[in-house]
Symmetry: C2
Subunit: 191 residues, 2 copies
C-alpha cells in the first residue's frame, strides 16, 4: 500500500537490531486518517470474505482494528494480555512469548465474545516472529471460529512469522512488507 510505505519511509526510524520505530503515526501517536485508508484497503482485499468480527490484541492493535471495523460494519474483540496465570472457564487463554519484552504473557478472550458462529478477520500492527498472531489463531481454533483472513499493517519480511502463517494456508494481507532495513541505507519494501 503506497501511502503506508511512503509514510514508513518518511517517518519510520530504523535502529540497530532490526528495530523499526513507527510510534509517530502507528503505535503511540496514531494517525487515524491513515488508519481509515488502511481499513478501506483491507475491506477491498477481503471483499469476498463474510467477516462478522475483527479480532486484535492490546494495546497497539486496538486503534487500527477499531477504525478498520467501521469500514467493515462489524464489532471488534480485543484479546487482553495478562502476566498472571489465569485459569478461568469463562475465558479462552493461551500463552505468547514477547521478543520485545523478553517475557511470556497470557492472552485472554472471553468465551462470550467468540464462538463457532464467528467469521473473523484478525488485525494487528506488526508481524515479525508471529508469536502474538499464533496466539490469536490458537484462540480462534479453540473457539471453533473461522479465520477469514489476517490483516497486518507492517510485516518484517526478513523474519519468519509471515512465511509460517502463509504456509499454514491462511490468507495474510500485509499492507507493507519490509524486505530489508538498515540504519544507514534505509528500507527496502517487497514488490
Amino acid at each position: 500500500m503506497k501511502i503506508l510505505e511512503d509514510r514508513i519511509r518518511r517517518d519510520g526510524i530504523v535502529r540497530e537490531g532490526n528495530v523499526l520505530k513507527v510510534d509517530s503515526f502507528l503505535n503511540h501517536r496514531m494517525d487515524v486518517e491513515l488508519f481509515r485508508e488502511m481499513g478501506r484497503e483491507w475491506k477491498r482485499l477481503f471483499a469476498d470474505r463474510p467477516v462478522n468480527k475483527i479480532l486484535t490484541i492490546e494495546a497497539s492493535g486496538i486503534g487500527i482494528a477499531a477504525v478498520a471495523a467501521l469500514e467493515f460494519g462489524v464489532p471488534v474483540v480485543f484479546a487482553k494480555k495478562s502476566k498472571s496465570i489465569n485459569l478461568d472457564q469463562d475465558n479462552y487463554v493461551t500463552q505468547i512469548e514477547s521478543f520485545t519484552h523478553h517475557r511470556t504473557y497470557d492472552v485472554i478472550v472471553s468465551r462470550k465474545f467468540l464462538g463457532p458462529e464467528d467469521h473473523v478477520l484478525i488485525i494487528d500492527d506488526f508481524l515479525a516472529n508471529g508469536c502474538a498472531l499464533q496466539g490469536l489463531l490458537q484462540i480462534t481454533k479453540e473457539a471453533g471460529a473461522t479465520v477469514e483472513g489476517i490483516g497486518i499493517a507492517i510485516e518484517k519480511g526478513f523474519q519468519p512469522g509471515g512465511r509460517l502463517i502463509r504456509e499454514q494456508g491462511f490468507r495474510l494481507e500485509s499492507l507493507a512488507i519490509v524486505e530489508s532495513m538498515d540504519p544507514e541505507t534505509g528500507i527496502v519494501f517487497r514488490e
Copy 2:
C-alpha cells in the same frame, strides 16, 4: 446520551462492590458504531474548543479515542502503562494507582508527541476515582499543553473522581453518569 444509557441498561451487568461490567460493547467487545455516535456527541459538545489532539490511556480508552478522533479530524496519543520504573528524559512519566488491579503503574507519554502547542481533549471509557485521569492531567501540565476538555463514556457519579475534576475547573462531559446502581434494582442515571 440516551443511546448509551439505554445500552448500559440493556447490556450492562451490575455486580456487588460497585462493579459495572460493560465488556459486551465498551471494553472487550467494542461496538464501534456506538463509538462513532459517542464521538459525534463529544464533537457537538466541544464544538467551540480548538482541539488538535486526543489523549487517552491504554488499553480500553484507545478504541473509543481512535473512532472519536475521526470526527474531530485529529490524531490520538495514547499513554502507555508500565509496571517498571522508567526514568527516561525522552518521556513524561507519572504514577497512577489502580483500584481495580491493586497496584501502581507508571504512565508514559513521549515528549515528541505532546507539547505547549497542543490543545488536548482527554478521552477515556470510565471515570470513578479519577486516578488515571489525574495522571493524564499531570502529564498535560508537565507538557505545557492546554486541556480543552475531558470526554468520558461512563462516570460513576457516586465516586469522587468527577466532582474533583469539575472542582479543578475542567470541562468534563460524561455521556452517561451512573447516580446509583444495585444488582437487584438496577441503574439510576443522573438527569
